[in-house]
Amino acid sequence: MNLAFSTAWPVLWAQQATQTAWLDEPMLLGISRQWVIWIAWLALGFFGLFPGIVAYMVWAERKVAARFQDRIGPNRVGPLGLLQPIADAIKLITKENIVPGSADKVVHLLAPVLLLVSAFLTLAVIPFGFGGKVGNRLTGLTPIDLPSGLLYLIAVSSMSSLGIFLAGWASRNKYSLLGAMRAVAQLVSYEVPQVLATVPIILWTGSLSLVAILNHQVEFGWFIFSPPGFMAFVLLTIANIAEVNRTPFDLPEAESEIIAGYHTEYSGMRFGLFFLAEYLSVFSVSCLGTILFLGGGSLPLFDLRDLLSDNTTSFVFVNAITVGVFSVKVILYVFLMFWIRATLPRMRVDQLMAFAWKMMVPLSIINILIAAIWQEVVVGHNLNYIPVFGDTFRGWLVTVPLEIVAVFLVFWIHRVTREDSAPALASARRPAASLVR
């Protein structure tokens, strides 16, 4: 890749200038094209389709979880229980809103709103398809293509820890406060590996724009196909699951210990907002994982842009394929999260924090260095990531052993330094043994 800094930028600026002129033209009743497109995004996408997707994600999760537990799941309201989300929405809206007498009323109202806003804002920079073509560069079917898109995304998604903390604090309930404290500690700890896992991608792409990251993958292969990329994908996925408080990282809302954690004092539609925000952020982290590592809406080994080169295939057709491929990947990613939820039990608090700081942070730091080596060997020479024999294979030869050594090193250090389990278990066993005797 390596855009030569001196020559490439004027070209990009010129392209953006022509695009700006096109967008500024009046389209409807004197409103410029840009505004029509934005209003369409808001009306159809953000406040139309996305809440619908989220509602049916809840239905899908209940169905999937039921199958994992050898049940049928919702099947009473409509065929296959398909009207269940609508019934739930009606139920939530017609329930009484109870605010505890001792709570801070304003903050109690503000907290779920803040969470939902944070979940919506993260979706603003996701490229869902390939969109318009400027020069040789596809601009992405995205509301906005910020040059610092990834930084923006991380900034607004970390607002959610504030919302959760406000909810727990304002409720004036001891279980809520415990849940909120746990949530903040967890979100803050897992944000570090989450952010560090994205550094290799920025390193290879040389840009923070998600559209540029997508275009780079269309050109050179998906990032998951490189050893450091795969490691970063695993780290990011684990951190993502922790960031949206899902099993095995759902300590902030552990029912058996602290009722429902930070949303214990919420009922009716305010609880519904928490629910909506949680699933919306599941959707947005799935989109993020897909864009960063799974090549967005692109197909492997086949460049969809080739369809456009003869000017006969319509843009809409190519974008329909792209959005379809993107959706399939997002669905698989979400299913992975459902699967993990149905499989793994909840972690203990000390295990949770130790896992973030003693394993994921060191691993992601080492991974950045290995990614720099991959950059030197493969990306810097404009090679494809698929391990064909030759120069790319040399990169695999160097980085795969390094990754394995890194994983073993981190696990070994963790095993040597940990001071709990063995003696604690031994002392716990002793009284039982004496009882038997």
Binding site: M1, N2, L3, Q34, W38, W41, L42, I93, T94, K95, E96, N97, I98, V99, P100, P112, V113, L116, V117, L121, A124, P143, I144, D145, Y152, W169, S171, R172, N173, K174, L177, V184, A185, V188, S189, E191, V192, V195, L196, V199, P200, I202, L203, G206, S207, L208, I259, E265, M269, G272, L273, M353, A354, W357, K358, I365, I368, A372, E376, G380
Partner: protein
């Protein structure tokens, strides 16, 4: 061009606030309101709440927050380095290795001091 894109962020922000408040407004219209003393009590498994809830909390969380700030600032330094890396060459790599090594020493020190042990 770039700054005007943030207009959309502003629109989305307002829209999201409206989207969150609209169902709450509907709740005001359609949902029943039956207040009672015991309903507005703090819900702690049916046991009456004792003592003050808004207290000073344990120091452990504060230490983790400090660690987070250190590593978050590290990331702020890493991002521009990663964006410009393609044009900087091997010297930048060595510099960043030194930087990461310093931070790793910090993490190892915190680890050895038992800061990362949850008690």
């Amino acid at each position: 061009m770039i700054l005007t894109q943030y207009i959309f962020v502003g629109l989305l922000l307002l829209g999201a606030i409206g989207f969150a408040l609209a169902p709450l407004a509907v709740v005001l219209l359609v949902a029943p309101v039956k207040r009672s003393k015991s309903k507005s009590d703090t819900y702690e498994c049916g046991v009456l709440t004792t003592g003050e809830t808004w207290i000073r909390f344990r120091i452990q969380y504060y230490i983790y927050a400090l660690m987070f700030v250190v590593f978050d600032i590290e990331t702020v330094f890493l991002y521009p380095w990663a964006v410009a890396y393609g044009g900087l060459g091997t010297f930048a790599l060595i510099e960043m290795v030194v930087f990461l090594a310093l931070l790793s020493v910090g993490l190892a020190y915190a680890w050895a001091k038992g800061v990362l042990r949850w008690v």
